[in-house]
């Protein structure tokens, strides 16, 4: 919709978008469509505010519920502003659900999965993006196809295998199956296809660098922004993973999500303490979101574009 567009001369009456503020018309009245970056009107903002409140409210209410006693939480009308028992509820959740150990476990699990995913996915993404080898397209298709296999299909034997090799109930059983993921490979490939010019690789080759040296000194620095995003996405996913950790780990050695599930399934769960546990498990990620929200949003959109 630039002013130099050749179509403009042929239909000036339709394409006077730039002057819509002057003509007093709202953008919605123009006959131009979605991809044209028209300004949002009051309706747009109203709708976004409603959706935004819907997105935030359950999290806000987690905080509210975690700061009252159970009696008050289950009252009608429910409390809508935080009360004064947050500290004691957090402490109770911490003790009842063994949250200290659970958090350490979650940090170990999510941390190691993230580091390994970044390393392996960057390597594989680079190979698929910039190296020529036999079977490249078939193998890339195979990688993407694995995205469609739900974990449910293999948890029974996985559980038996883990117990066989002595990893039953141990963190290894949660870490190893997710060390490298198809999404990460695909994501890094998409990024490197455009971000890494062949000239850089050629130059490094002329300088006599081995392939791994090229990865280390050329690919990794170029890939860093994408690795940041993939790292955050992977960490969020690993931290929030529930199904397999719940089956694989036991009460003595849980991740934070598993501990939370067990806390709520205990005989007489105190809802305000359960909510305090939920708050503890969510807070670190919300912080990451507040700080890096822009990059995460950009990453999800970048990963999706050429899907």
């Amino acid at each position: 919709m630039t002013t130099t567009s050749p179509t403009k001369t042929s239909a000036p009456d339709l394409l006077q978008a730039p002057s819509y503020t002057a003509s007093g018309k709202t953008p919605g009245r123009l006959r131009l469509g979605a991809g044209q970056q028209l300004r949002g009107g009051p309706f747009t903002y109203a709708a976004l505010i409603v959706v935004g409140l819907g997105s935030i409210f359950p999290l806000y209410w987690t905080l509210v519920a975690a700061s009252h006693d159970q009696q008050r939480v289950l009252d009608s009308p429910p409390p809508l502003v935080p009360g004064g028992r947050l500290g004691s509820n957090l402490q109770a959740a911490w003790e009842q659900a063994n949250l200290g150990k659970a958090i350490v476990n979650s940090v170990i699990v999510a941390g190691s999965i993230t580091v390994a995913t970044l390393f392996f996915c960057t390597l594989a993404g680079y190979a698929f993006a910039k190296m020529r080898f036999r079977g490249r397209n078939v193998l890339m298709t195979a990688v993407i196809a694995t995205l469609t296999i739900p974990p449910q299909l293999s948890v029974v034997p996985l559980f038996m295998m883990m117990s066989d090799i002595g990893w039953g109930g141990k963190l290894e059983s949660v870490i190893f199956p997710t060390l490298v993921g198809a999404f990460g490979v695909f994501f890094m490939r998409q990024y490197l296809v455009e971000a890494l010019p062949y000239e850089l690789i050629e130059a490094a080759k002329v300088d006599g660098a081995s392939n791994f040296r090229i990865v280390w000194s050329v690919v990794l620095p170029v890939a860093r922004p994408a690795m940041m995003v993939l790292g955050m996405l992977t960490f969020v996913q690993a931290w929030n993973d529930f199904f397999w950790p719940f089956l694989a780990l036991n009460q003595q050695n849980p991740t934070i999500q598993v501990a939370l599930g067990q806390l709520s399934a205990s005989y007489t769960p105190d809802q305000s303490i359960v909510m305090a546990g939920a708050l503890i498990s969510t807070l670190p990620l919300l912080l990451v979101f507040v700080i890096f929200g822009k990059q995460i949003v950009g990453g999800i959109m970048a990963g999706a574009v050429k899907g």
């Binding site: 179509t7 394409l15 006959r31 131009l32 469509g33 979605a34 991809g35 044209q36 970056q37 300004r39 949002g40 747009t44 976004l48 935004g52 997105s55 359950p58 999290l59 519920a65 939480v73 289950l74 009608s76 429910p78 392996f120 390597l123 594989a124 190979a127 020529r132 080898f133 995205l147 469609t148 449910q152 293999s154 948890v155 029974v156 034997p157 038996m160 199956p177 300088d207 660098a209 929030n240 529930f242 199904f243 089956l247 999500q257 599930g261 709520s264 399934a265 005989y267 769960p269 909510m275 939920a278 498990s281 969510t282 990620l285 979101f289 929200g293 995460i296 949003v297 999800i300 959109m301």
Partner: protein
């Protein structure tokens, strides 16, 4: 870059010694280079295939073997051939069919509204907005919330007495609804959790695709006198078709896996059976109940196979519908 290593493209054998022996064609060093070039890509993609082979593909095939055996949680190293007994056992179980039905229904009522809302939301976000990044981040926050947290908060929201939703509804004259116990209300409750967590994520995927639609298409449509709604229908939606298909596939697979939401909706022992009347028991819950609560891994593996068959069926339906739509469009 190390300056002492010989330049690769212009490599000449150093005088004497090793160079003379190879006659230029393949010194030890250049052979190493060539091996490096040939083997490196495979070495780089190997970790993915090794991990997937060991913890994805192998267990997937192994599931078939277990489904034909009696394997108990109490003695994982013992197994006994039982043929198709496990399959007939679950196929004759009414609870299994309830779970199939529930999974399907919850899948539909969570996926369809979710993707429609995401599409509309993406359309709104595609306008030029003040603080556009802020809005995008806000709608994505549920994505940062775990299944466990989301399910537990919504469990309180949907409580029969003292739940926020019923409190709000009483202003509209709606009587107290027992969300968790009802056949449909419990399914709706679970769908709401799913919709809450994933709508923003899908909206961002649509938004990315919308921004990739070339502006000329809209200009051409506008010249032809297309209204905004017509432009949305005739330009935006067709351009987004691959992305929409992608999100349908991903959401369908996701809804096949629903586990945390039904497990934690009412907490306690109701979780492992999906409600007092199994009214929100999904296939994953059924699998968990057979394998981990009752300890019979054979039937649990048979359930996994049933899920695979269902997935293939859905894929087939998707494919047929896709063909039909394309034919009609042409």
């Amino acid at each position: 870059m190390a300056t002492t290593t010989p330049a690769r493209g212009a490599y000449t054998p150093p005088s004497g010694g090793s160079g003379a022996a190879s006659n230029g064609r393949g010194t030890w060093r250049s052979r190493l280079w060539r091996f490096d070039d040939k083997a490196s890509p495979y070495a780089y993609i190997a970790p993915f295939f090794l991990i997937f082979g060991a913890f994805g593909l192998y267990p997937l095939l192994y599931t078939g073997w277990i489904a034909l055996h009696r394997v108990e949680m109490t003695g994982l190293d013992q197994s006994e051939w039982v043929g198709f007994d496990n399959f007939s056992r679950i196929l004759q179980d009414a609870e299994f069919w309830t779970a199939v039905f529930n999974t399907f229904v919850i899948g539909v009522i969570s996926t369809v509204p979710q993707l429609l809302v995401a599409l509309g939301l993406a359309h709104l976000l595609n306008y030029k907005l003040r603080a556009s990044t802020f809005w995008r981040t806000v709608i994505l926050t549920p994505y940062a919330t775990s299944v466990a947290t989301a399910a537990l908060v919504f469990a309180l929201v949907f409580r029969a007495d003292g739940g926020i939703l019923n409190w709000v509804l009483h202003f509209f004259g709606v009587g107290d609804v027992d969300w968790g116990e009802g056949t449909w209300t419990s399914k709706i409750a679970i769908s709401v959790i799913v919709i809450w967590r994933w709508t923003g994520y899908n909206a961002l995927i649509y938004l990315a695709a919308m921004q990739a639609v070339p502006t000329d298409l809209y200009e051409a449509a506008a010249i032809d006198g297309a209204s905004r709604w017509q432009q949305f229908r005739k330009v935006t939606i067709p351009s987004l078709r691959p992305t929409i298909l992608f999100t349908i596939v991903i959401s369908t697979i996701g809804s096949m896996q629903l586990f945390g939401e039904p497990l934690l909706l009412q907490g306690g022992t109701l979780g492992s059976i999906g409600g007092s009347e199994h009214q929100y028991e999904t296939l994953s819950i059924y699998l968990f109940n057979y394998g981990w609560k009752l300890g019979h891994l054979g039937p649990a593996a048979a359930v996994a196979w049933a899920m695979l068959v269902l997935l293939l069926l859905i894929a087939l339906i998707n494919w047929i519908v896709g063909r039909f739509v394309r034919k009609n469009a042409a």
